[in-house]
Amino acid sequence: MKILVCITNVPDTTSKITFTDNDTKLNKNGVQFIIGPYDDYALARGVELKEQTGGTLTVLHVGEADAEPQIRKALAIGADDAIRVNAEPMDSYFTAVQIADIARQENYDLILMGRESIDYNSGVVHGLVAEMLGISSYSPVMKLDISGNTVTIAREIDGGKEILTANLPLVLGCQEPIAEWKIPNMRGIMTARTKPLKVVEPVSVIEMTEPQHYSLPAPKGACKMIPASEAGTLIRLLQTEAKVL
């Protein structure tokens, strides 16, 4: 089985976010980057399925060279080879076009990625890729088992859980508890440097969006304590001050 896992390169979850270029770009200075946490789950399950089925696993990233340490980490975790599409992604559509283009050439049975990236959190790339390839996509996949050509998927839906079966090929957006994150072991780290990392140029895409302005959420205000006996005050404040009622 041929598995493709797409990974994003995102700021560490504890990073302090600031912007540059008139608040139109993330300030990368001093920010530690990591593999997108949801993608990390997809990768972990991908590696397990690769081992189970005796298949191959390619890791794909659409982005610039500064992501290569994260790509090599994916190789250390267990991917066989890697592809980097050398471009700064403009938006989800751009990324999806690049992934679909590679997928068309390689005919993967299973394309895994996180349910969303944790930087721009659009959560639409898996759907777009599937649409472009004319195959099905599901998200958020929390359990994934494969037997022959049949895939069993569990996912949370509003107010419950859905278990369904589907046939390969598929595109899946993954999240915990699909697998436990894997820590690269010493052997993996040492073999990662010998695994191929191919850099390809992007296919051209018409620019569909352009960021105009980013801003940070307003800082958290001070906490107001209302005694339990003054429920009326609480309701009034929720209506007039917090404006949530």
Binding site: G30, P69, R72, I183, M186
Partner: protein, 608 residues
């Protein structure tokens, strides 16, 4: 290889231990942690991820465990990731990483409290005696299983009446009648990993015809040998989850082929293995300190008093900056030593020495620097945890907040692997011995300083305006200060200097400060060369604050030494000399500390 590169390696590998006192080192000659490559950083990240996933969520459980199974199972998990075999050569199932990478691993695994102690005891004092002194059969039998974690190791040197004076151990080994076994009898204490170890490195004195050897001999003893019993785990102030036991050997039969190296070679093995343990301890302490600093910075940002985060108060900023300066200094010096060790190993191998011989010889050569780092690393950690408690305030005293464990666990580092007092004595003792043997020319430079203090002082303004020219002059002068004091002390006491431990402590403090301050300065100079001045403004602050701290320490230690042996004219001349050699241009260190702290407070972490 380019000629310049070859020269650089030659220069770096010709380094002699203790030579920094009489020779100026160039920034290009030292390694700085910023030079670790992607693979080394990935290894460190694996260690940190392992701690975050397996250890930090279980710190309470580990400390309160009633049996050693939990910590042993966590060691198994570390083994699965390959973390127990980083320093073991590939032919014995390890990963054959160089020394400085194993330092990085020690740092990255150093923030695991009791677990870190278990891990470093296994990979260090447990495994290395076999790696460095074992014969081929012993290495093939033990190393692969120790590297994978299938077998765990413990190191049995200390006894109830033999601690710092290790060679006075009473454990005996006598050859059996058939000549096939040594029968070991004795009692060992403070044995880390004792409760679950499969393999014990045991130091005993061979007894023959009623005579006991003067020197120790080392043995590899399997748990299955029989005759091994142990007490319940010790109740300790800290590292409560580390399984520490008294172990009794009662007619324990050890096959003769399990003798490590030669009869009578045990003390040397113990000393050399501890050398490695010392420098690694500095790295591990640094790892622990960084974690505590991160927690303290987080708390300072979260805790609000008088309507604002306490991180906004100058007193707290001062503490955060002082923590950072100390850690940055330990880090700069520790990896400088680590690389020097690697370079010497390469040089000795090139001269035809075996892998083990080269490693041992390199570590012996740099034993002074290893002892310096043990003292510095453990004392920085103690400072950081102490101020960590203080930043946490009332919560710092709560056993439910993280500073409680950090504070208790830190304390052992100044005691084990040779107390800091023993290490201070070693620093001075080794320097003087090398000087006596003519291996290190301290006498010549000391005599020159003696002449200089009798001459008219140099009023400066002669320095060229190169980077750190003034600061380098300060370092050169600090070296003169210690040469002056040490030279006079040696003249005064001759062979009896060893009885003047108070003076030795002061001399050691001076030497330690000089080595570390020089390392910080060289690191920042090299960083500026690599990244430019603009991106090193805060690093310059770190170097400046540390240098000022060192000048004060060298001055006060020098004064303590001089006033305890010099009198009348000699006293006055030396105090004048000390004043002259511990001069530094005043600068606004409060502002420098604020800049350092502000950066860490904004990043909400230790990020240098």
């Amino acid at each position: 290889m380019a000629v310049a590169e070859a020269n650089k390696i030659f220069e770096r590998s010709s380094i002699r231990g203790g030579e920094f006192l009489i020779k100026e080192t160039q920034a290009s000659q030292i390694f700085i942690p910023e030079e670790f490559n992607e693979e080394q950083q990935m290894i460190a990240a694996t260690c940190r991820e392992f701690l975050a996933k397996e250890i930090w969520p279980r710190l309470d459980e580990i400390d309160h465990a009633k049996s050693p199974e939990l910590i042993a199972s966590l060691m198994d998990k570390a083994g699965e990731l390959g973390l127990l075999g980083t320093a073991v050569p590939e032919e014995y199932g390890g990963f054959g990483m160089n020394f400085n990478t194993s330092m990085l691993v020690a740092e990255a695994t150093g923030a695991g409290n009791s677990f870190s102690v278990a891990l470093s005891a296994h990979t260090g004092i447990g495994t290395l005696p076999i790696l460095y002194y074992g014969n081929e059969e012993q290495k093939s039998k033990y190393l692969p299983k120790l590297a994978s974690g299938e077998w765990k190791a413990a190191y049995c040197l200390t006894e109830p009446d033999s601690g710092s004076d290790a060679n006075s151990a009473k454990t005996k080994a006598r050859l059996s009648g058939d000549g096939l076994h040594y029968i070991v009898n004795g009692q060992k204490m403070w044995i880390t990993n004792g409760g679950f170890a499969d393999v014990f490195i045991v130091f005993a004195k061979v007894e023959e015809n009623g005579q006991t050897d003067k020197n120790l001999t080392a043995f590899i003893i399997d748990k299955t040998s029989g005759g091994i019993t142990m007490n319940e785990p010790e109740h300790k102030m800290g590292i409560k989850g580390s399984d520490t036991r008294q172990i009794f050997f009662n007619d324990c039969e050890v096959p003769v082929e399990n003798m490590l190296s030669e009869r009578g070679n045990g003390f040397k093995i113990a000393v050399n293995i501890l050398n490695i343990g010392r420098i690694k301890l500095a790295a591990a302490a640094l790892g622990g300190a960084k974690k505590v600093a991160e927690q303290a910075i987080n708390y300072a940002n979260e805790r609000k008093q008088f309507g604002t985060s306490i991180a906004n108060f100058g007193a707290i900023k001062h503490k955060i900056a002082e923590m950072a300066v100390g850690m940055y200094a330990t880090e700069s010096a520790a990896y400088r030593v680590g690389q020097n060790i690697d370079d010497l190993i390469t040089a000795f191998q090139a001269k035809g020495m075996s892998d083990s011989e080269a490693k041992l010889k390199a570590l012996e050569e740099l034993a002074i620097e290893c002892a310096i780092m043990k003292v510095h690393g453990s004392e920085v950690l103690d400072f950081v945890v102490d101020e960590g408690v203080q930043i946490y305030g009332g919560m710092g005293f709560s056993a439910d907040a993280p500073m409680d464990r950090a504070y208790r666990d830190s304390r052992i580092n100044r005691i084990f692997e040779g107390t800091n007092e023993i290490n201070r004595m070693l620093v001075v003792d080794m320097l003087l011995k090398r000087a006596m043997k003519g291996q290190l020319d301290l006498m010549g430079p000391a005599a020159a300083v003696g002449k200089e203090i009798m001459s008219i002082p140099d009023f400066g303004a002669d320095e060229e305006e190169t980077l750190f020219a003034k600061e380098k002059k300060v370092i050169r002068n600090l070296k003169k200060a210690v040469l002056m004091v040490a030279g006079a002390a040696v003249q005064k006491f001759m062979m009896k200097l060893s009885e003047e431990q108070e003076i030795i402590m002061s001399l050691a403090d001076m030497v330690i400060e000089i080595y570390v301050a020089e390392s910080v300065l060289l690191r920042v100079e090299k960083r500026i060369g690599l990244l430019g001045e603009e991106r090193n403004a805060l690093q310059k602050d770190l170097a400046l604050v540390y240098l000022n701290r060192s000048v004060e320490k060298v001055n006060s230690a020098g004064r303590a030494a001089i006033t305890s042996f010099a009198e009348s004219d000699e006293l006055n001349v030396m105090l004048m000399g000390l004043k002259r050699f511990t001069k530094i241009e005043p600068s606004n260190l409060k502002n420098a500390r604020r800049r350092i702290a502000d950066e860490l407070i904004a990043k909400n972490n230790y990020t240098f």
